[in-house]
Structures are given as C-alpha cells and as structure tokens.
Symmetry: C2
Subunit: 221 residues, 2 copies
Amino acid sequence: MAETIPTPRRGRPRSFDAHEVLQQVQDAFWKGGFEGTSIDDLTGATGLNRPSLYGAFGDKHALYLQALRQYRESTLDAGRQILEDAPTLRTALEDIYRAAIRIYMGDDDGRGCFVSSTAPPEAVHDTSVRRELSAMNDGLDGHFEARIARAQAEGEVCTALPPDEAARIASAVLHSLSVRARAGASKRALHALAQSAVDLLAKAPETGSESGSEPGNSTGG
Amino acid sequence: MAETIPTPRRGRPRSFDAHEVLQQVQDAFWKGGFEGTSIDDLTGATGLNRPSLYGAFGDKHALYLQALRQYRESTLDAGRQILEDAPTLRTALEDIYRAAIRIYMGDDDGRGCFVSSTAPPEAVHDTSVRRELSAMNDGLDGHFEARIARAQAEGEVCTALPPDEAARIASAVLHSLSVRARAGASKRALHALAQSAVDLLAKAPETGSESGSEPGNSTGG
DNA sequence: GCATTTTCATACCCATCGTTACAATATTGG
DNA sequence: CCAATATTGTAACGATGGGTATGAAAATGC
C-alpha cells in the first residue's frame, strides 16, 4: 500500500505478461493436475524456461497456488456478474449453469472445474490448497445466497428452503457438473441436470406451466 | 466361471490377503492421490515389498484401478442396502447421507469420496480411470432412482421432479459433500447440507412440521 | 557510453520415480 | 528327501522429477 511508484524498473524488462503466462500455467495444471504436471510441461505450455518461471512466480507449488487464485477470483467475479445481471432467479440459475457447463466441457473434452478437479488430492496434506478450495466454495455459496435472498426480497416466491440452504444446493449442482464432466458425461446430460436443479430451486417463470427441456442458444461467447 | 478348482496352488503360498492389501493400498491412494503416492508409500502401507505387489496386482496403474473398483463395488453395494432397508424415502436419504459423511470425514480429517477425490485429475487422459469414475456416478444415480421410483410406487408423494432427475440431484449432493469435506468443512456443515437436500427431495414425515437439526446416533458401525 | 540491474538461455545437480533382475526361501507332489 | 514352483527380500536399473548455478543479453540511470 506504500509503494505505488509507477514503473521505476531497472534492468532488462520481462518478455512476457505475467497474467497471460499464469493462464497458460493454469491450463497445464487443469489437464494434468498438480503432481501430474512437470516443470517441463509448464515450460512447454508457457514458452518460458525454468529460471524465468521461478524468478517470476516462485517454485511449482507457488505457481499452482497463484493459478488457483487467479481462476477463483476471475470465476467468482464472472459468476457474480451473471447472477446479478439476470432479471429473475430462474434465469440467473440457467445462465450460470450454462456458463459453467461451457467452461467445464472445454474444447470438447470434459475437464470440469479447475479448482474442484485438481485441488482435492492436494488439499488433504496442503493447507494452502485446502484454503483455496474452501474459498472457492464459500464464494460460490455466498454469491448464490445473495442472489436468492434478492429474489425473495423482490417478491419471487422461489424455494422451500431458506436462502443459505438453497444456495448450498445450487453450489452442489456445480460440484456435480464438474465431476460428471470429468467422468465423460455429455453436454446434454449436464444440461439436463442443470435444468432439473433450476426447476427444483426456482419456480416457473410466472406464465404457463411448460417445462423447458432445451437449453436454448443465445448470449453466446 | 469354468475354473472353480479349490486351491491346487503349487509353490510358496502368499503371506498376505489380497483383499486386505488392496484396502491398505486404497487408503494410501486416498490420502495421496494417484500421482502423489509412490511405490514406497504403498510398500509402507501394506508391509509388502515391491516384487510382491507387482506379482500380485501388476503395476501402479493396475493397482490403483483395482483399488478404485473395490471401493466402487463395496460402496455401491452398501449404499443400495441402506436405501433399500429404509422404510421411507426421507429416512433412506437421511441414512445414506449420514453414512457418506461418516466415510468422507475419515478419522477426523476430511478425505471425501475416494473415487471423486482422486480420480478426476487422471480421468482426463486415462480412459480406464474415467470409466471407473463414470461407473461410480452411474451406480449412484441408478440406486437413487430405483429408491425414488419405489417411493412413488408406494404412494409417497415426494418430489416435484421425475425419479431420474431427482436421483441426479441426490447424487450431486454426495459429490458436493465429498468436495466440501476435502475443503475442510465441519461435520455440522455437511449434515446441514444433507438435511437441506432431504427437505428438498423428500416430503416431511407425515406428522408435524418440525425440522430436525440433529443428525442423531444409531445404526452405528 | 559505461556501470548497474534484471532477465534470459544452457547446462547441470541430486533425489526420487516406477520397474525389474537375481538369488534366497518356503511350499507342493512324489 | 528331492525336483518343481511360486513368493519373498535386496539391490540395482534407466528415466525423470524439481530446483539452481553460471554467464550472456538487454534494458535503465547518470
């Protein structure tokens, strides 16, 4: 907080963008997990050599932790935005599950959530990783709870559960979507689970009683 | 099915029970994950030396696969039994979530579900592991669906969702309990999530409207 | 332009990884 | 008791793991 000097950097400047490199590191860990990804894999994914990686980010563990943190922060921010932008709880849940499935399915291979797919094996004996995993869950729970509470405040009679409990169910569905994606489930199956969750957590859109089965396509990326 | 010859074994007999050793192997992988567990860890956990392990089970990958399979089969069998024994859907869900939490919390450290905590990192590039993970999910979904269908057939007006969809939500809660256990969640928090899921998927027990908060203790180990 | 400072590239270090020879040991069948 | 067979224990194999020393290269400040 005391040093916000613009850029009095001396010496040779970096030839890479830290944020972008961290994104590539994240992708590598996403595919291989922490133990299953070697430094060689990381140099291959980033184009940097070992000393550059170590100089900029620290050792492998620190690198993984920073990748986890960046993913968590960006994902939670994006998720909160999606929830807030939706006019109703129903559309909010539909939108966030659709976005999650798009991420979890990757290019076409089911890769799940980066945190909940790669952190658990390390979380048992690694406190800092466990904290990251916990922070991810708490963030999701919190965002869902806030959105559900808002829905109730706005008069949407939505669910039989109090906001905090319904929120944890909503997060649970995300956990399941991630695991199922890794297990090779189809997009169709994931969308079906999401739709079931929406039907369970949010009341029908006011009019009619038609139960939508198609995920629809819009607001594409 | 053709060779059920008692034991015409020649040569020196084994000094260990394969099933028991596989259980110890499972515990080791449970704590360390696949990549994070070395052969030395396995020899330490089992008391066997490397050639014995390789001779009896094959290489590390085969060992992990057999541990996954044994866990899946025993867990699915136990789960089906619990669901079938319960008189109502509500108690069935309560019982199975209580049993799951007991397993997921281990001695006191949150270790989660063996399959869904250790398989995901490997499932991306390992087809056989992915199949195990998928079989676990399919088994859970199937058992839940059968129990919910039975509940409906027996006249329990339970949920707003068809049996197959409600079953996937029920499995999703297990997935979430596993991840949250690894994240360090308390037993209290896990039981709260389970209770919310029960309230959402099964109607109140007929009489009264009291919502139970205590997990209670019975049908112990 | 020259000293200073930081990054980049090549190579190397030691530890540990999974796997396997090889010989000693223990059991079965005769 | 002896040949045959399977398991056990010790030790080693090549490969790869994470991490780092050492200069060359490229920028800044005066």
